[in-house]
């Protein structure tokens, strides 16, 4: 376990995360059909968030305040989008990039906080897998739900719900980018053939903000009930 400053401990994996995300996204973007810079930023948001989640240094961050560590890590993820923006598309309007950065930070914080509080009850490893699986399930809902949603008719609320629960929708709303009509989604989901509506930015901020606050509150309860118990050393941890 890291004995020094936990924030300093986060720098190497953080830089590694940016590097991996840049490489993966740039490669994917250049090999893809769309040369759209908006599409590239959207991809970066997905890849960057996933890589950030995987590389988050759980063990080192628990030395001091895990909530602070999550906040710093998520802020870093949010800021990282500017590096990508500088590399691929400075022509894209800055307010959009700022909004995307906020969306990345919010999603990153939500999934890390969920992992953190679930890890209070189970092991961090199990919590990590559980939250990752849940996130992937939600993120891919427009794909796996679309064949089932066709029967529900024109402009079904179910289609809107499935879209709203997918984290990439947050990035799309931030960018004003209809990702369901990007070439891949257009060809592989039935969404584009039907009427659907993206949730408002306000609703998304409320839902994800609520999840974050709920996680912080649950974390406090855990701390109050067992103040001396160090994080990551529960009996379930193996």
């Amino acid at each position: 376990m890291w004995r020094g400053n936990p924030l300093v401990a986060m720098i190497p994996p953080y830089l590694l995360g940016i590097g991996i995300s840049l490489l993966m996204t740039l490669d994917f973007w250049r090999g893809g059909e769309s040369g759209s810079s908006m599409h590239a930023l959207f991809l970066y948001a997905i890849v960057g968030t996933a890589v950030g989640y995987i590389l988050y240094p759980v063990k080192s961050s628990v030395c001091s305040s895990p909530l602070l560590a999550i906040f710093v890590w998520s802020s870093g993820a949010a800021i990282s989008v500017f590096a990508f923006w500088l590399v691929v598309s400075v022509t894209l309007a800055l307010p959009l990039v700022i909004r995307l950065g906020l969306a990345i930070g919010l999603i990153q914080a939500t999934i890390l906080l969920l992992r953190h509080v679930i890890g209070r009850r189970f092991s961090q490893a199990r919590a990590g897998v559980l939250v990752a699986a849940l996130t992937i399930l939600c993120a891919s809902s427009p794909i796996w739900l679309s064949p089932w949603l066709e029967w529900s008719g024109e402009h079904s609320p179910l289609m809107d719900l499935a879209l709203a629960m997918s984290p990439p929708t947050c990035f799309a709303v931030a960018l004003d980018y209809d990702y369901l009509r990007s070439p891949w989604f257009y060809k592989h989901t039935a969404y584009a053939m039907h009427r659907y509506e993206y949730p408002s930015a306000g609703l998304l901020i409320f839902v994800y903000g609520f999840l974050c606050l709920a996680a912080v509150r649950i974390d406090r309860r855990f701390r109050k009930s067992s103040p001396n118990e160090p994080f990551g050393k529960f009996q379930h941890d193996t």
Partner: protein, 371 residues
């Protein structure tokens, strides 16, 4: 023998009189047929006009309190256009059922010039909105129209978005928001730019032609490797939602219109190739090349617009049969109208389960057919 010349003269005059009588009879029967056909045409046109009235009545009945239809800028603009272009030529003086949707559309004008109440379908909504605003003939809306024009021109994919001319998306327009372009959106955008009198020398037309060419299955003008040679159009370069890169009806009419909007004339080989595809696949019973009634009413709408723009009353199909497209379309749409005045597609893909949208499309098509 002395009576022979008189007999011959009598026979000749009898023959002449008989021939003249036959000719008169022929001419009378031809006139009778023409009169009957004209009466039938008029009867059909009257029937179509009544269908338009029933459709407009349905739209009025289903208009929301705020003047919109289906809570959507695009559908509202299309329904508004259906009223404005109808034989009754409704105007803003006719009341709130016209002024309210106009205000609804105007209330959705965004800072960037787009007219849309939602983040998706920006180009689509903007295009149909400025077309409808232009149809009001009210000069007060010029600012919104110019803003919409600028938005559409800005969203036309070109060097500004980092695309070079050799990219297959160059010159296209998508739903808005930087997505991949398609011919359906491109044609609606071009229609709106044409309707709102964008300068014919504007570079946007030339750029759009590059994209239009890349959607046509015509290897002489399409530089894409997949291009076939039937002259029809597909949805976007290298992709059709129905089968690989196959041409289909809705897009071929959209493609023909796009070519005409962008400045190609009737003699242009690309236009001729598209028209030949339409002739060879002539139908008002289906959207040729699309299965299960998919996009059928979109097809009828584009069909009416392209045939009207092409300017021929009759079309000769691939088997040599002549068709009056107006009559065929009127007859078909009248037969498909629901008792409540609406039209709807049982295949709900492409929003064709929305009665307001499909009714607006059908009326716009009939408005052109009865002209």
């Amino acid at each position: 023998m002395k009576y022979l010349p008189i007999l011959v003269a009598l026979m000749m005059s009898a023959t002449t009189v008989s021939a003249a009588a036959k000719e008169t009879n022929k001419s009378t029967s031809r006139k009778t047929i023409e009169k009957t056909v004209m009466q039938q045409d008029e009867k059909l046109a009257e029937e179509a006009k009544r269908a338009i009235d029933r459709g407009l009545h349905y739209l009025r009945e289903n208009q929301a309190e705020d003047g919109s239809w289906s809570k959507n800028v695009g559908i509202t603009a299309l329904a508004l256009r259906a009223f404005l272009e109808s034989p009754r030529k409704y105007t803003e003086d006719d009341g709130a059922f016209i002024t309210k949707p106009v205000q609804y559309v105007l209330s959705r004008v965004r800072e960037d010039g787009a007219i849309s109440g939602e983040m998706q379908n920006l180009s689509y909504n903007t295009a149909v909105a400025i077309t409808a605003l232009q149809a009001t003939g009210n000069p007060k809306y010029q600012e919104a129209i110019k803003g919409g024009q600028s938005f559409l021109k800005k969203h036309l994919i070109d060097e500004g978005e980092g695309y070079s001319k050799d990219h297959k998306y160059y010159g296209g327009i998508g739903y808005g928001g930087d997505e991949r372009p398609d011919l359906s959106n491109a044609y609606l955008a071009l229609e709106s730019l044409k309707a709102t009198a964008l300068d014919p020398k504007d570079p946007a037309w030339e750029k759009a032609l590059v994209f239009i060419n890349r959607c046509q299955n015509r290897s002489e003008s399409n530089d894409q490797t997949w291009a076939a040679n039937d002259g029809g159009f597909t949805y976007m370069p290298g992709y059709s939602p129905h089968e690989a890169t196959a041409s289909y009806g809705g897009m071929t009419h959209a493609g023909l219109l796009s070519l005409l909007f962008a400045g190609a004339d009737k003699q242009d080989p690309r236009v001729q190739a598209a028209y030949d595809w339409i002739r060879n696949h002539y139908s008002v019973d289906e959207n040729p090349g699309a299965p299960n009634k998919q996009g059928l009413y979109y097809y009828y709408n584009a069909f009416a617009k392209s045939m009207y723009a092409y300017g021929e009353a009759e079309i000769t199909d691939g088997k040599g049969s002549k068709h009056n497209w107006r009559e065929d379309l009127m007859r078909k749409l009248v037969s498909l109208q629901n008792p409540d005045g609406s039209w709807v597609n049982s295949t709900t893909k492409w929003w064709e389960g929305d009665k307001n949208l499909v009714t607006a499309w059908s009326i716009i098509a009939l408005n052109l057919a009865v002209r």
